[in-house]
């Protein structure tokens, strides 16, 4: 329903960004194009996947393996599925991205964060969980994917009635 | 002996006969009005139950759909609920004291 609207808006953004960049020279082109890619770069397909493996493949083009260097902090029992505090951090080097997936949600990918150089590999956020589920944190480090998971019990669901 | 049996049969048939005299629609209407009045009384006592109103609404919907058997049952249910809420109110006029922390 709103897709056409937001896509056209995105295209407009990209176009203006490019137009501005051409005027401002090559350095600016790279910077502004990157910005435009970010704003338009919401990975719609990844957010539609129903399994962690598919979401990782769509988002990163590869698979992940468990690592004790990925730390996932989530409650044993969520006080309410509508607001589940979840933190992910990692001691792995060169972390470029952190994603959080909730296995039992209608779409597994909940959030993904881009970690540029100089930003620490740690993020906290609050997510919705439809029911008790495995939560999987995926960290991209040195071009490879590592994961940690934990079960969070949800007694009051976050999807309402 | 035989007379007695006949009398018993007659007696047993009586309520059925009385019910037959009333159309299902009238029966529903009477039950619904009774339920509404009882729930109103519960309201005056400031202790209505949400389920009573729900049952009344469902009864009306069933009647509107022409299902008077169902409507009657629901109206009777509503009255029972309204009555129970009144009983609760009366009981709690004093029963609450037993629950107080001491």
């Amino acid at each position: 329903m709103n897709t056409s609207h937001h896509y056209s808006r995105r295209r407009f953004l990209v176009l203006t960004a490019l137009a501005g960049a051409v005027a401002a020279g090559m350095d600016a082109l790279r910077a502004v194009a990157a910005f435009a890619a970010d704003a338009a770069g919401w990975p719609a397909d990844a957010f539609k996947q129903k399994s962690e493996a598919d979401a990782a493949k769509t988002l990163y083009g590869k698979t992940f393996e468990p690592s004790d260097k990925v730390k996932l902090d989530a409650p044993e029992i969520a006080e309410n599925g509508a607001v589940v505090p979840i933190s992910v951090s990692s001691t792995l080097p060169n972390v470029t991205s952190i994603s959080i997936m909730v296995k039992e949600n209608p779409y597994v990918l909940a959030a993904s964060y881009k970690i540029p150089e100089g930003t620490n590999a740690a993020v906290s956020n609050r997510l919705k969980m439809a029911k008790t589920s495995q939560v999987v944190a995926v960290v991209e480090s040195g071009g490879k994917l590592y994961s940690a998971s934990k079960e969070v019990k949800v007694t009051v669901g976050g999807c309402g009635g | 002996m035989r007379n007695k049996i006949i009398a018993a049969l007659l007696l047993a048939a009586l309520p059925v006969g009385a019910a037959l005299a009333q159309s299902p629609q009238d029966q529903f209407k009477a039950a619904y009005e009774k339920a509404e009045a009882t729930n109103k009384k519960a309201g005056e006592l400031r202790n209505q139950w949400t389920v009573t109103a729900n049952a009344l609404k469902a009864a009306k919907a069933a009647a509107d759909a022409g299902d008077f058997d169902k409507a009657l049952k629901l109206a009777e249910q509503a009255e029972a609920l309204a009555k129970a809420s009144i009983v609760q109110t009366e009981r709690e006029k004093t029963a609450w004291k037993d629950a107080v922390i001491r």
Partner: protein, 280 residues
């Protein structure tokens, strides 16, 4: 024990019910017993921690709460409340003008018994009276504006202990007693009283929710509830509690609700205001 003997003596000596009723309206005695009850039920909980409701009795919940408090979801309500309090009415006055100290740091004094009117005045009632007296439209008692204004008032009163006074006025005592009665009376199809959940079963789970102890339960109001996905006033809390036990709620700020607030707030005297709070 001593008190039971007193009552039985009273029963035997005086037959009139009125005398017995007069004997039982004893807020100070209630206060002591109420506090003692919760402290012996939860010996591990510090007295001033009861105001944190379910978080005072559940370690797992507490951790999530501390995490939420890092940037609490009621933050937007505080900002909005502050704005609403300073926003001029058509006549140039503001909500702040209606209150002592411009409404800052006064939460702990509400509700109070108004001797002139002979009734309990809550903070929510006072806010709407202020609006109406100045020709403004009152807020919905269960809506966001009321929650925001009372949230800001509570926030500026944090740490101040509840200071609810019951004057030696038979009408004030009657209001207190009505509130207590309402609190303990079972209602709704589920046949629950406020006390069934918050006195008999705090710390236990009902419909998967950890119940808050009645002691200090209003100190954190208004609250952002995850279940509501938004803010709720005391009015919202009372009416929704009634609906949850399948009872038809009274009108918000009905005299009986104000009496309940009077009773519960008095029970929390001395415990700090911590509102606005966040709850599951």
């Amino acid at each position: 024990m001593f008190r039971k003997i007193l009552i039985s003596v009273a029963c035997c000596a005086i037959f009139a019910n009125g005398a017995l009723a007069a004997e039982t309206i004893n807020p100070e005695q209630d206060f002591k017993e109420f506090r003692q009850f919760f402290q012996s039920k939860f010996p591990q909980v510090k007295l001033e921690d009861f105001v944190n409701g379910p978080y005072s009795v559940d370690e797992g919940l507490r951790k999530q709460w501390i995490e939420k408090e890092e940037f609490p979801p009621y933050d937007f309500a505080l900002e909005k409340g502050k704005e609403l309090m300073a926003k001029p009415f058509a006549n140039g006055k503001t909500i702040a003008d209606c209150f002592p100290n411009k409404g800052i740091g006064i939460r702990q004094d509400y509700p109070y018994f108004d001797a002139k009117e002979g009734q309990v005045i809550t903070l929510e009632l006072a806010v709407n009276r202020c609006l109406e007296q100045n020709g403004e439209k009152p807020f919905s008692y269960t809506g966001d504006d009321m929650a925001s204004v009372t949230a800001y008032m509570a926030f500026t009163s944090r740490g101040k202990p509840f200071d609810i006074k019951i004057p030696n006025d038979p009408r004030a005592l009657a209001a207190y007693e009505h509130g207590k009665q309402y609190f303990y009376q079972r209602r709704g199809q589920l046949n629950f009283s406020c006390a069934s959940c918050h006195v008999q079963s705090p710390g236990e789970l009902i419909r998967s929710e950890r119940l808050a102890p009645a002691l200090g339960i209003l100190n954190a109001m208004p609250i952002y509830r995850s279940e509501w996905g938004g803010m709720g006033t005391i009015s919202r809390r009372f009416t929704s509690c009634n609906s949850q036990v399948r009872g038809v709620p009274l009108k918000p700020q009905d005299a009986e609700y104000r009496d309940v607030e009077y009773y519960l707030s008095y029970m929390a005297n001395g415990l700090p205001i911590v509102g606005p709070g966040s709850r599951p």
